[in-house]
């Protein structure tokens, strides 16, 4: 089998992993700390790393996976030399920021990890590669091997994939929850140890300096958005994760336990989960502020921050000339950058609406929630006009069938019975305004 064919098979097997960032690197000149996209694929996702499997052979039989053992398909594996040559060639031409290496489980988790470590060692030490490496730790591998892998990689990840133990048991007969959580816990501990050590090791001796991440599949199993973001929040807290990635399930394999093959991926739901996740990481929101057991589903019509705002009108209006930065961040239309600009500018004089516009604040949304020099929102502002200003145009872009992938929306139009998008949006404006 030639290199072109191997690359096709092994990139195809790795593409459902959403993580492709190279962020958090501490390699001046060799990888940018904020991450760097080298291209964008036809699905609009950033390409930063050469994302491939070392081998797509697998002894596990996870129902949703394109590499499951019971599937008849061409199997391939890179030799360490092939993989190193490909990475160096791509990196030198500036196609990529580095390598993302995952693998099917060849023989056993430990054996697979040994193969991966061998390949990465050749790349780092044999070829002197100093770019970014993201490596997948294989669930069930021994701690010593996880440690060795972490000394070669910038970032490690262990994918949880299924958001509850029950789904995991049902869909991944060979994987156990502890086998996933054990390496995550070890990675968190090793990093903590290192940060507490009196003398920091040099570049070659550091353990996963860019931290760890994980991925959850959305829509292959019945967990609610509330369960999912609570799980994410717990993992950020407990394991110090840098990122949780969400991957809308795309049926690639037929199985009676899974959504049928013609099911469309829940892209709008995935989009809302990323927004909710962003609120927890960048805006200081708690999971419980975003959703609750009584309201377990994200709002398809409003982004989660706007949804919080319309449900907490008692907190507004906020005075842009006085409010602390974390309160400014709660205003729809003001992001982290906008909030920082306001705080800097108001030290130099009162800020009015025109200045806010020049600072990139989205006044169409923000004006319902703020006071500024010479401006107060009209006293008799109708609730409907406020909600209407916040309605997310993305709903249009994603299309009406995406609405059917939300459940438990309460009074909002959703489920499978929505026929016209315009009507659904109109009805939800009324419904949300009435609840304000």
């Amino acid at each position: 089998m030639d290199l072109m064919e191997k690359l096709s098979i092994l990139a195809d097997g790795a593409k459902y992993d959403a993580a492709c960032t190279s962020s958090g690197a501490d390699r001046p000149g060799f990888a940018l700390p904020m991450g760097c996209c080298h291209s964008f694929s036809a699905d609009g996702r950033c390409i930063s790393l050469l994302k491939v499997l070392l081998s797509n052979e697998c002894v596990f039989d996870c129902k949703y996976c394109v590499n499951r053992s019971s599937l008849e398909k061409p199997r391939a594996a890179f030799t360490p030399e092939e993989l190193a040559g490909l990475t160096m060639g791509f990196y030198r031409r500036n196609y990529i920021e580095g390598l993302f290496l995952s693998s099917g489980v060849v023989k056993s988790p430990d054996h697979t990890m040994e193969l991966m470590i061998g390949a990465l060692r050749l790349l780092r030490q044999g070829h002197g590669f100093r770019g970014y490496i993201h490596a997948k730790a294989i669930p069930g591998a021994s701690p010593q091997l996880v440690r060795e892998l972490g000394l070669l990689a910038d970032r490690l990840s262990v994918n949880i994939e299924l958001p509850s133990e029950e789904s995991l048991r049902r869909l991944c007969p060979n994987k156990r929850r502890e086998a996933i959580l054990l390496p995550m816990g070890q990675i968190a501990r090793e990093r903590e140890e290192e940060s507490l050590a009196l003398c920091r090791p040099g570049e070659a001796g550091r353990f996963a300096p860019a931290g760890q991440s994980t991925q959850l599949i959305i829509g292959a199993s019945p967990e609610s958005d509330y369960q999912i973001i609570r799980l994410s929040a717990a993992m950020y807290r407990k394991y110090g994760l840098k990122r949780v990635f969400y991957s809308a399930y795309i049926p690639a394999v037929a199985d009676s336990l899974l959504p049928s093959l013609d099911t469309k991926p829940p892209l709008l739901r995935e989009h809302r989960l990323y927004q909710a996740d962003f609120l927890m990481r960048q805006y200081g929101f708690e999971a419980e502020e975003i959703l609750s057991p009584a309201l377990p589903s994200l709002n398809p019509y409003l982004d989660p921050k706007s949804n919080w705002a319309v449900n907490h009108m008692e907190r507004f209006p906020v005075d842009v000339n006085r409010a602390p930065q974390d309160l400014l961040l709660r205003v729809p239309g003001i992001g982290p950058l906008g909030a920082r600009r306001i705080v800097a500018a108001r030290r130099q004089g009162k800020v009015d609406l025109e200045q806010l516009r020049r600072m990139g604040i989205v006044l169409r949304r923000a004006r319902h929630f703020i006071t500024a020099a010479g401006y107060r929102p009209p006293l008799l502002q109708s609730r409907e006009s406020t909600v209407r200003a916040l309605m997310d145009p993305a709903v249009d872009r994603f299309g009406v069938e995406q609405l059917s992938m939300f459940h438990d929306l309460g009074l909002l139009p959703g489920g499978g019975d929505v026929r016209s998008l315009t009507e659904a949006v109109e009805e939800s404006v009324k419904c949300l305004a009435a609840a304000m």
Binding site: G29, H38, S39, D43, K51, L86, A345, Q348, M359
Partner: protein
């Protein structure tokens, strides 16, 4: 500062002409301050000459430039100097005049001027700076090298003059390599060999013939690019907004989509 009022104000309708370098621009600032006049326009030698009013050539003098540079950092702030350097590399139209207005105000108002994010002039300069730095960041990713006769060559066609912003990054990353980044828009090239980098003027430069080996690398990359996209999630609009079409001409994986 008498005569340091609005641009175009006053009776003197003079236009400055300078050599297009940052030092040359700083000498224009020097002249404006010491002659107590605000020019109607400031044009670089490579620009189309202005037709308005009398034109004066401002010579570039290293010592004067150094005095102005020093006074910006000291009397306004180091950040103001950085902003000026960045905006000078940006593609903001009439950037010299905007920068002069900014500096004349900065001398009066002090370092706080850089924080006036909502001010009309300042926000215009900040957004020009963001445009430059944003494009430089994109090009750290979108620049593509091809090996030709022992040299790694990349062509870029940026709107802003990004070479000074990306030079250090590539010199570190490709420290052991001989490489060149050719900016076709601005007729300049960064050449790095034997651990030293310099910027050269280039007039017209043809892309070298692609060797069979190099074509092989591009084919592998194209195959990876096509494979990694997930069918069922096609989103050309999202791709276009992250990676605007004008960058595609220099990216081998996009060649067939142009």
């Amino acid at each position: 500062m008498p005569g340091g009022g609005d641009v175009g104000g006053g009776a003197q309708a003079v236009c400055y002409r300078y050599d297009g370098s940052f030092e040359g621009f700083l000498c224009c600032v020097y002249d404006s301050v010491y002659r107590r006049e605000t020019p109607l326009c400031i044009t670089a030698e490579s620009d189309v000459p202005a037709l308005l009013g009398a034109e004066r050539c401002v010579g570039t003098d290293g010592e004067r430039a150094a005095r102005v540079r020093d006074s910006i950092a000291r009397r306004i702030s180091p950040r103001a100097l950085e902003l000026c350097r960045n905006v000078f590399c940006s593609c903001l139209s009439q950037k010299e005049l905007h920068l002069l207005r900014f500096l004349l105000r900065g001398y009066r108002e002090g370092g706080g001027i850089c924080q006036k994010n909502g001010d009309e002039l300042v926000s215009r300069l900040l957004s020009a700076e963001r445009h430059l730095l944003g494009e430089a960041h994109l090009l750290k990713g979108f620049t593509r090298f091809a090996r030709a006769e022992g040299l790694l060559v990349a062509f870029i066609t940026p709107k802003n003059y990004v070479l000074p912003c990306i030079a250090e990054h590539f010199c570190l990353r490709l420290a052991q390599e001989r490489f060149a980044i050719v900016d076709r828009t601005h007729g300049a090239a960064l050449l790095h060999e034997e651990g030293r980098a310099r910027v050269l003027r280039v007039e017209s430069l043809r892309a070298p013939e692609l060797s069979a080996e190099e074509a092989g690398w591009q084919a592998l990359w194209k195959r990876f690019y096509d494979t990694v996209a997930i069918e069922g999630r096609e989103n050309p609009r999202c791709r276009m907004s992250h990676m605007p079409r004008r960058y595609w001409e220099n990216m081998p994986e996009m060649a067939d989509l142009l």
